[in-house]
């Protein structure tokens, strides 16, 4: 009777699982789709660029990429720039796999096996430039406290779950004038795998290894406790909604929330784009790399005055040679724009990033000069 159709309806959960599976396959398919090459006949006069340039990688760069793309396409209306924010790992993978990508965006520079493979793909040294510096702010929600000074050890203690109350002596010692409440601290972290977590924990690992014992991680381990939230917006939302919360997020998204000044040497540095960009100047280049390979060992533990050390530095990875001269030309022109003053202003505008220092921009320009366009 009535029951038969009902039983059939129990197939719906299966259908849900099917849909989930299909969704997944669709996602992975779209990862592979971002080909493009640069196949446009057009006028071959070298002054006017045309064609399609494809890049993929870091999702942190997505907003900056939007600014660069807009500015670049205004200068060269016949060029289309595609950027697929598949994630840094995915971008590097696709870049190594073949010529479909002109460049990859990555929150970490190439290392070990990947570096060798990339060198093989490029037929020589890779071109790697830091084009995107994004300050990570330590945001907090304390209505009666507008300024907060935190030493790295204190930040590590808070996020490791060892400092649990706002009136803790460690916090009070650095904030003699603040009216710290007797309130539980609620540390908020990213629940998704993220470059922000990677850079934040890299900072804690470098500056307070005794307290921060889990090292440099991309996924938050459950044993540390705290609230997990999805994405930058999720963290900001959680901190906003809970008094006594503290979190870390892209500085451009901090909004009205208080941002802590972090201890560097003997002083406390509040976040500004300039202070964040200074990290690159204070850092040394990773040794044993080609001239065009500008990988930086970030000096997280710097004691230099006026440097804000919690930053995310994201790289553009390209080759010095491409089999398709057009792709070489487009890649070079686009990356040159990205590190130019206008380009950095565009990304600061669209993503709130910190403009790279001119000394670094000069080095990057030299590296880009190595890309052969004919």
């Amino acid at each position: 009777m009535i029951k038969t159709p009902l039983h059939r309806r129990t197939a719906a959960p299966l259908a849900a699982a099917v849909a989930l599976g299909l969704g997944l396959s669709a996602c992975s398919a779209s990862n592979e789709e971002s080909s493009g090459g640069s196949s446009e006949s057009g006028s071959s006069s070298s002054s006017e660029l045309s064609g399609t340039l494809s890049g993929a990688g870091s999702s942190a760069q997505e907003a900056a990429m939007a600014g660069w793309r807009k500015g670049f396409q205004e200068m060269h209306p016949d060029v289309t720039v595609n950027y697929d924010p598949v994630g840094s790992g995915g971008g590097r993978e696709q870049f190594i796999a073949g010529e479909s990508l002109g460049f990859a965006g990555s929150d970490a520079f190439l290392e070990g096996d990947e570096l060798k493979k990339a060198q093989k793909r490029c037929g020589g040294d890779v071109v790697e430039i830091p084009a995107y510096v994004s300050p990570i702010a330590v945001i907090f929600n304390l209505p009666d406290v507008s300024e907060l000074n935190l030493k790295p050890e204190t930040i590590a203690g808070i996020f490791a779950g060892e400092i649990t109350n706002w009136n803790d002596e460690a916090i009070a010692a650095d904030n003699p004038d603040a009216d710290l409440p007797d309130l539980d601290i609620n540390p908020v972290h990213r629940s998704d795998e993220s470059g922000t977590t990677d850079n934040f924990t890299s900072y804690l690992d470098a500056t307070a290894p005794d307290i921060w014992t889990v090292g440099n991680i991309e996924v938050w381990p459950g044993k540390l406790g705290g609230e997990g939230a999805d994405g930058t917006s999720g963290v900001v939302q959680s901190v906003q909604s809970g008094e006594g919360s503290i979190g870390y997020a892209d500085a451009s998204q901090a909004g009205d929330l208080g941002t802590a000044s972090v201890g560097v040497g003997e002083e406390f540095v509040s976040y500004t784009p300039e202070a964040a960009a200074k990290v690159l100047e204070a850092s040394s280049q990773t040794e044993g790399r080609g001239e065009t390979d500008l990988a930086y060992d970030l000096a997280r533990d710097t004691t230099e005055s006026g440097v804000y050390p919690i930053v995310l530095v994201s790289y553009q990875i390209a080759c010095p040679e491409y089999s398709d001269p057009k792709q070489a030309e487009l890649t070079k022109a686009f990356l040159e724009f990205a590190i130019s003053k206008e380009g950095q202003a565009a990304s600061a505008d669209s993503a709130g990033s910190a403009p790279i220092p001119s000394s670094v921009a000069e080095k990057a320009q030299t590296a880009l000069d190595a890309i052969k366009t004919s």
């Binding site: 719906a12 993978e93 539980d184 459950g222 997990g228």
Partner: protein
Amino acid sequence: MADSSNELTRPVKRLGDRIFSGTALGAGVLILVTLAGVGLFLTIEGLPGFTADSSATQPADNFVGLAGPLVFGTVLSATLALMLAVPLAVGVALFISHYAPRRLSQGLGYLVDLLAAVPSVVYGLWGIIFLAPKLVPIYRWLENNVGWIPFFSGPTLASGRNMATVAVVLAVMILPIITAICREIFLQTPTLHEEAALALGATRWEMIRMAVFPYGRSGIVSAAMLGLGRALGETLAVTLVLSPAILYSFNFIGAQNPSTIASNIALQFPEASGLEVSVLIATGLVLFLITFVVNFAARAVVNRRSEFSGAN
């Protein structure tokens, strides 16, 4: 299916019959092929994930360490949601089918059906922005007064993003589907059964207990399983509402809650590459299998009970 007609009478078969039976067969086969295709995809793509080392199964040490808590969280959240939703849904369905005046019941029926059409992201946003902060005082009270029960040991997050909130949001999401089916079942109760019960002197509640429930029992189970299926696979609402971690915990109002498989995939997939993707797909395969098991179990329950349902 196509030749279920009686061989003895040899009925006439027209072209329309052939075409229809062909398309029906095709549709049936297509479902199986799709299902097999998905299963195959999950198995092939996910196989390397089962043996992945700790570099791909962050923050756990190996696949079991990652998938175990996820399975736990998935089943726990869905079960809690079901415990909240089923009694409520049965009540709503009974009201619509047996208590409400006809005109009201029709309107209510439409409303419940409408609830089912709300996208899960809307439920998720509602859960995180509206519901969760409203529930915080209740959680605080539970934490302070009955905190000795492990379920409510807290500490409660100021944002209220915990397992209990997820359970409520999921319950609201699966409520309409369960209600709609239960309502249809209850309406199908043979009037003779109901009148017989009333004639024996039963009150309306006793009539429902004696006639409506036994008749509809297998239907209620089916409805619950449908809801469970949706709760198990729900992704976005859980992702938004839950403050997740990879651990086992029966603390429903704490800061650290066991994540669910679907939500974990949604969280980690955008930045995953290589073996990490395989690990995530492997957890997807596990979810696929769980839904299978749940459905087989439900079917077994329904079949066992069908003989006593009073429907025959």
